[in-house]
C-alpha cells in the first residue's frame, strides 16, 4: 500500500512547487512531491542514510504546534522589553536561545516560525544563539514564544543593544557592498581581459587589436559597471579618508580611497577622450579585494570580542521583585530598576540577577562566569551570591546588595573594557609612525607616477596607484590592539582578570615573583591540627561532639569539621561571633571562643599562642581544639614551575608566627622573610626591583603599598570573596598553577605582538621598493595589503588558546 502525499510545498526544501516541474518520488512507503529532481534526489539520499528522522522531527514539531496552549499573561510581560517596532512596520522580537544545539535547530526554528501567520521574517544566528522574528502584530507575541517553547527551547528575552545592533548593521552593509563589488568586478575584469588579449594596435600591424567599436563599447560597459563599485562599495574608504582629512589627519583610508578614485577617474577621462588605456578593472579589484580583507577581519575580530560582550549579556533583562505590600506577590521589573534591599526571586536554571545575600532556599550555584570553574557549589541561606552565576536547581530568594551598576560583573566588564582599550607605548609609537608614513607614501606614489611618466612608461599611473595601495600601513596599526583584545578575553575565560592592559607587558618582563603573605600559599581554610582533652573524655569523643555541633554552622571554622560522625546534636543555636551551642545525648554543649563556651571561667587560656584555638565545653571544659591553615596542595608544583621558567621566588610575610615560617620553608623559596611591616615590605620590593622586574602576589586587600611598589601585582582570590582589590590582575580560580601559566601566556602575547609589528614593518618595507620599481602588479598589491592585515589578525587569533 503506497500512500501518496500531494502538497504544494516541496517535501525537501519546503519551497512552493511550480506545477510544470513537479516530480514525485517514493520515500519509504510514501510517495512525496518535490520541486525538482535535485530535491527528490536529496530526499532519497537522506532516506538511504537513514536520516529520515530529520523530516519526522520537523513534521512532529510542526504538528505539535497546532495544539498550542495559551501562555500565562504574566510571563509574557517578561518578553515585552525585547519587543521593538521594526523600521519596515510591524514589530520585531529578539530572543536569546541558550539551548540552540545544531544547524538543524536553526533550520527548524526558521521553518516553523516562518510559516506562522503574520510572521514576515525570521533570522536565527547559530553562533550567537540569537533569534530575531519580525511579525505584524504584537498580540501574537505569546503565541510565538510558546511555539518556541514547544519546540523544546527555552527562549530568554534579548534586549536591544545599540552597540551590537550597529555591529550587525555594519556587517550586513559590508556584505552587500562586497557582493556588489564582486558581481560588478567579474564582467569588468573579463572585458579588460578581452581587450588585453586583443592587444593594442601596434606600429608593425595597425590592423591588430580590437575593433575600436568593440573597444569603446567595452569601455562604456566597464564604466557603467564600475561606477557602483567605486561610489557604493568603496564608500567606507572614501568616508574614512574624508573624516580624517577634516580633522587634518592623513588617515589609513586615504591612500586606498585615492587609489580607487584615481584609477576610476583616469579611466573615465580616457574613455571620454578615447585615450590610451582604462583601469576600471584595477579600481574594481582594489575595492573588492580590500573590502574582502576588511570583511574577514571584521568577522574574526567580532568573533574574538564576543566573549567580552557576553559578560554583561549573562544578566537577565528583567527580574521578579517581591512586592513590598502583598506577601508572596512578585512583579516583573527591568534589571536596571533594582536597588539595594530588593528581594528577588530566582528559579532553577536561571542566572542570578544581582549581587547579594541568599535569603531563602538553597541550590547548586556555579560561578563559571568568574572562575571558569563550571562545577556548581551548594549554597545555603546567608551565603553571598554574585550576579551572573548560574542557579542550577534551587528556587531562591536573593536580597540585592546594590544596583546593577555596582555588581561585580558590571565592574569586571568595565575593567575589561579599559584593559582592552590599552595600547602599549611602542604601539603608540607605531601609530604615530604610521601616520607619518602615510604622508611619505602619498609623496612616494606621486613621485613614482611622475618619474615613470617622464621615463615614458605607459604604466606610470598604474605604478603610482599600486604604490598607494601596497604601502598602506593597516597591518602596522592593527598589530597590537587585536592581540591585546584577544589576550584579555582569553585570560578572563581562564579566570584571570586584568585591570589594565599594561599588565601584560610587565608580566611578560617579570623576573622575580614575590609572595606577600603566607596565606597566598596556603588553603585559607582551617583544618583541625590538634585536640587537647581537658576532662575525662578522649580526643576522638571530643572531636565527634564538635563535629556534630559544627555540622549546623556555616562559619568558615565549621568547614574544618568535615569528618563524618554518628553523634547527633539537637536544639543547635549558632551565635555569630561566639560559637555553636546544642544538646548532644541530653548534655548541653558549647563550642567556640573561650568566653562563649565557658563564660564562667575567664581564666582559661589556649595552650600556645600559635594558630587558632577553640574550646569545647559540656558542661565543664572538655578540650582545646587547635585549628590551622594548611599548605595548598599545588603550591609546591607552582613554585617548581616558576623556577623552571627561570623566576626568582621570594616570600615577604607580615605574619610573625613560626608555623608560617615552617610551612614556607618546606617550599624551597629563594628567600623568605617573615614578620615584616608594610614599610619594610615596600623597601624589600624596591630592593628586588633594582635587580629585576618584580611581580607581587597576594590577596590584594591590605598590601596596597607593596603591590604598588612592584612593577605589577596579582591577587589570588580565595573562593567566595569579592574580588575588589588593588592588584593589576586577579586570579579568580583557586588553582595556583594559573600563575606560571599566566606568566607564560603574557610572554607569548608579547612575542606575538612583536611578530605582528615585525611582519607589518617587513611587509611595508619590502613591498614598497618592488611597487616603485613597477614589479608589482596591482592585483598582487591589493591582495598583499589585505593579507598582511589578515595575517596580523590571525596571528593574534593564536592567543585564543592559553597553552601552546
Amino acid at each position: 500500500m503506497l500512500d501518496k502525499v500531494r502538497t504544494s510545498l516541496c517535501h525537501h526544501c519546503q519551497a512552493p512547487i511550480p506545477e510544470a516541474e513537479r516530480c514525485e518520488a517514493q520515500i519509504g512507503d510514501t510517495l512525496h512531491s518535490f520541486c525538482c529532481q535535485g530535491c527528490a534526489g536529496a530526499a532519497r539520499l537522506i532516506d538511504a542514510l537513514s536520516l529520515n528522522a530529520f523530516y519526522d522531527y520537523r513534521a512532529s514539531c510542526a504538528t505539535s504546534v497546532a495544539a498550542s496552549s495559551q501562555r500565562r499573561a504574566r510571563d509574557v510581560q517578561d518578553y515585552l522589553p525585547a519587543l521593538s517596532p521594526a523600521a519596515e512596520g510591524g514589530v520585531s522580537l529578539r530572543l536569546l536561545i541558550p539551548d540552540l544545539r545544531c544547524v538543524a535547530c536553526v533550520w527548524l526554528l526558521e521553518q516553523v516560525l516562518g510559516r506562522q501567520e503574520g510572521v514576515r521574517d525570521v533570522t536565527v544566528n547559530f553562533a550567537r544563539r540569537r533569534l530575531q522574528v519580525h511579525f505584524d502584530d504584537s498580540a501574537r507575541l505569546s503565541a510565538l514564544v510558546s511555539l518556541i517553547e514547544q519546540l523544546g527551547y527555552s527562549p530568554v528575552p534579548d534586549l536591544p543593544d545599540a552597540e551590537r545592533e550597529a555591529g550587525k548593521a555594519l556587517w550586513r552593509a559590508q556584505l552587500l557592498r562586497l557582493g556588489v563589488a564582486g558581481l560588478c568586478m567579474m564582467p569588468v575584469m573579463m572585458f579588460a581581459m578581452a581587450s588585453y588579449l586583443a592587444g593594442p594596435p601596434t606600429a608593425q600591424n595597425p590592423a591588430s587589436g580590437m575593433d575600436p567599436l568593440y573597444e569603446t563599447l567595452l569601455r562604456w560597459a566597464s564604466l557603467a559597471l564600475s561606477t557602483p563599485v567605486v561610489f557604493y562599495s568603496a564608500a567606507p574608504f572614501h568616508r574614512g579618508a574624508w573624516q580624517a582629512l577634516r580633522h587634518l589627519q592623513l588617515g589609513m583610508d586615504l591612500p586606498v580611497s585615492l587609489a580607487i578614485l584615481a584609477a576610476w577617474g583616469l579611466s573615465v577621462y580616457n574613455t571620454l577622450s578615447f585615450g590610451s588605456a582604462v583601469y576600471f578593472d584595477t579600481a574594481c579589484m582594489f575595492a573588492f579585494l580590500l573590502l574582502l580583507g576588511r570583511h574577514v577581519e571584521l568577522i574574526s575580530r567580532q568573533h574574538f570580542e564576543d566573549n567580552a560582550e557576553h559578560l554583561l549579556r549573562l544578566l537577565p533583562a528583567t527580574v521578579r521583585r517581591r512586592s513590598a505590600c502583598t506577601a508572596g506577590e512578585f512583579t516583573t521589573i527591568p534589571l536596571a530598576e533594582v536597588v539595594a534591599g530588593d528581594v528577588l526571586q530566582v528559579l532553577p536554571g536561571e542566572t542570578l540577577p544581582a549581587d547579594g545575600v541568599l535569603l531563602e532556599g538553597s541550590g547548586s550555584i556555579s560561578d563559571a562566569a568568574f572562575t571558569g570553574e563550571p562545577l556548581p557549589v551548594l549554597r545555603a541561606p546567608g551565603a553571598r551570591v554574585l550576579a551572573g552565576a548560574l542557579n542550577h536547581d534551587g528556587t531562591l530568594l536573593v536580597q540585592a546588595a546594590s544596583g546593577a551598576q555596582d555588581f561585580l560583573l558590571t565592574r569586571l566588564a568595565r575593567l575589561q573594557d579599559a584593559a582592552m582599550a590599552y595600547r602599549p607605548r611602542w604601539s603608540l609609537l607605531a601609530d604615530r609612525a604610521a601616520a607619518g608614513f602615510i604622508g611619505t607614501v602619498l609623496m612616494l606614489a606621486a613621485g613614482a607616477g611622475v618619474a615613470w611618466h617622464l621615463a615614458g612608461s605607459a604604466d606610470a599611473w598604474v605604478i603610482a596607484l599600486t604604490v598607494l595601495v601596497v604601502a598602506c600601513p593597516c597591518a602596522l596599526s592593527l598589530a597590537t590592539p587585536v592581540a591585546i583584545t584577544v589576550a584579555t578575553t582569553t585570560l578572563r575565560r581562564h579566570g584571570v582578570l586584568i585591570r589594565h592592559g599594561a599588565f601584560l607587558e610587565r608580566a611578560a618582563a617579570t623576573t622575580t615573583v614575590a609572595f606577600d603573605k603566607t596565606g597566598t600559599l596556603t588553603e585559607a581554610q582551617l583544618q583541625v591540627q590538634s585536640v587537647i582533652p581537658l576532662g575525662e573524655r578522649t580526643e576522638q569523643e571530643c572531636l565527634a561532639m564538635a563535629t556534630a555541633l559544627e555540622r549546623h554552622s556555616e562559619h568558615p571554622i565549621a568547614r574544618a569539621f568535615a569528618a563524618p560522625t554518628s553523634l547527633i546534636a539537637s536544639e543547635v543555636d549558632v551565635v555569630p561571633g561566639g560559637g555553636v551551642s546544642g544538646m548532644i545525648g541530653g548534655i548541653a554543649c558549647r563550642l567556640g571562643q573561650p568566653a562563649f563556651a565557658c563564660p564562667g571561667d575567664p581564666a582559661l587560656t589556649p595552650p600556645t599562642q600559635e594558630g587558632l584555638w577553640i574550646l569545647l565545653c559540656g558542661p565543664g571544659p572538655l578540650a582545646w581544639i587547635g585549628l590551622q591553615d594548611a599548605l595548598r596542595p599545588d603550591a609546591a608544583g607552582m613554585l617548581d614551575a616558576l623556577r623552571r621558567d627561570g623566576m626568582r621566588t621570594v616570600l615577604f610575610s607580615g605574619d610573625p608566627s613560626a608555623s608560617g615560617l615552617r610551612l614556607a620553608q618546606s617550599l624551597r623559596l629563594d628567600e623568605i622573610r617573615t614578620g615584616m611591616s608594610p614599610a619594610q615590605k615596600i623597601a624589600a620590593v624596591r630592593a628586588e626591583g633594582a635587580r629585576g622586574t618584580v611581580m607581587m602576589v597576594g590577596d590584594g586587600i591590605n598590601d596596597a603599598g607593596a603591590m604598588a611598589a612592584a612593577a605589577c601585582s596579582v591577587a589570588i582570590s580565595p573562593r567566595d570573596v569579592l574580588v575588589q582589590n588593588s592588584a593589576d590582575a586577579t586570579l579568580v580560580t583557586p588553582a595556583l598553577q594559573g600563575l606560571p601559566a599566566m606568566l607564560r601566556y603574557a610572554r607569548r602575547t608579547r612575542r606575538i605582538i612583536r611578530q605582528n609589528l615585525l611582519w607589518s614593518l617587513l611587509y611595508n618595507l619590502s613591498a614598497i621598493p618592488l611597487a616603485l620599481a613597477g614589479l608589482l602588479p596591482p592585483w598582487l598589491a591589493a591582495i598583499g595589503m589585505s593579507l598582511s592585515s589578515l595575517l596580523v589578525v590571525f596571528n593574534a587569533g593564536r592567543l585564543r588558546r592559553m597553552e601552546g
Binding site: Q37, C39, G41, A42, L49, Y55, F126, G182, M186, L197
Partner: protein, 225 residues
C-alpha cells in the same frame, strides 16, 4: 586562468539556488552525525562533508575533461563548438538562477537516472566516522543538479583530464563558503539570497559572462602574438 575564476564565481553565484536544497541536506547530515548530548558546532563534520562534495566535483570534472578530449580529439574546430556549448549552458544557468527560465532543470532529470544506482551504496554509511562522512559528502556532490551539469559542459570544453578536474575544483571551492557558512551565517545568507534583486543580478552576471564567451568566440581572432 580566466575560466577558473569564472567557475569559482559561478560556484559563488549559485548560492541563491543552493540555500534551500543543499541547506536541508547539510542540516540532515549534521543532525545525523551529531553525537548525542554534544552541543559543539560540528565544524570538522561540515568540512568533511564539504570535502566529499568537492572530491565528487573534481572526479566528475576530470571525467568530463577526458570526455571532451575524446570528443574533440584535441582539434580546434570541435573545441570551439564545445566552448560555444558551454557558453550557452552558462546563459541557461543565468536564466535559471534569476528565475526567468527553468529549462536547465531538464538536465536534472537525465542526471537523476544516472544517480539512482549510487544510492544503494550509501545505505551502509555511518556518519559518526570521518571517512564515511567524506563518502556521504561525495554522494551529496553527485546529487542531480542543473548547475553542476552546466559546469560540466565547461569542463568538457577544457578537453583535458587535469583542467577539467581543476575547473570543477574551482567551482566547488566557490560553493564552499556557503557550505561552511551554513552554521552561523545561514540566516543572514538566506536573507541576502532571498533578495530577488540580488538573485537576478547574479543571474544577469552569469548571462553576461556567457554572452561574452560567445562574443569572444565569434570575434575576428586577431590575437597579437
Amino acid at each position: 586562468m580566466n575560466d577558473y575564476l569564472l567557475a569559482f564565481s559561478l560556484g559563488l553565484l549559485s548560492t541563491p539556488h543552493c540555500a534551500g536544497m543543499c541547506g536541508s541536506v547539510l542540516g540532515a547530515l549534521l543532525a545525523g552525525s551529531q553525537r548525542q548530548g554534544s552541543g559543539a558546532v560540528p565544524m570538522a563534520a561540515v568540512l568533511q562533508f564539504g570535502s566529499g562534495k568537492l572530491l565528487a566535483y573534481v572526479a566528475l570534472g576530470s571525467v568530463a575533461g577526458l570526455g571532451g578530449l575524446a570528443l574533440s580529439g584535441g582539434l580546434a574546430g570541435p573545441g570551439m563548438m564545445l566552448r560555444g556549448l558551454s557558453a550557452l549552458l552558462m546563459i541557461g544557468i543565468g536564466l535559471y538562477i534569476a528565475g526567468w527560465w527553468r529549462g536547465i532543470s531538464r538536465l536534472e532529470h537525465a542526471g537523476a537516472q544516472l544517480w539512482q544506482p549510487l544510492l544503494r551504496r550509501t545505505r551502509g554509511l555511518r556518519l559518526e566516522r570521518p571517512g564515511h562522512r567524506l563518502l556521504a559528502g561525495m554522494a551529496w556532490g553527485l546529487l542531480p543538479c542543473g548547475i553542476v551539469y552546466s559546469m560540466l559542459g565547461l569542463a568538457l570544453a577544457k578537453a583535458s583530464l587535469l583542467e577539467g578536474g581543476l575547473l570543477m575544483a574551482s567551482f566547488g571551492l566557490g560553493t564552499m563558503p556557503f557550505v561552511i557558512a551554513a552554521g552561523g551565517l545561514l540566516g543572514n545568507l538566506r536573507r541576502l539570497t532571498g533578495n530577488a534583486l540580488l538573485r537576478q543580478l547574479a543571474g544577469a552576471a552569469m548571462i553576461g559572462m556567457g554572452l561574452l564567451t560567445l562574443t569572444m568566440l565569434f570575434m575576428p581572432a586577431q590575437h597579437a602574438h
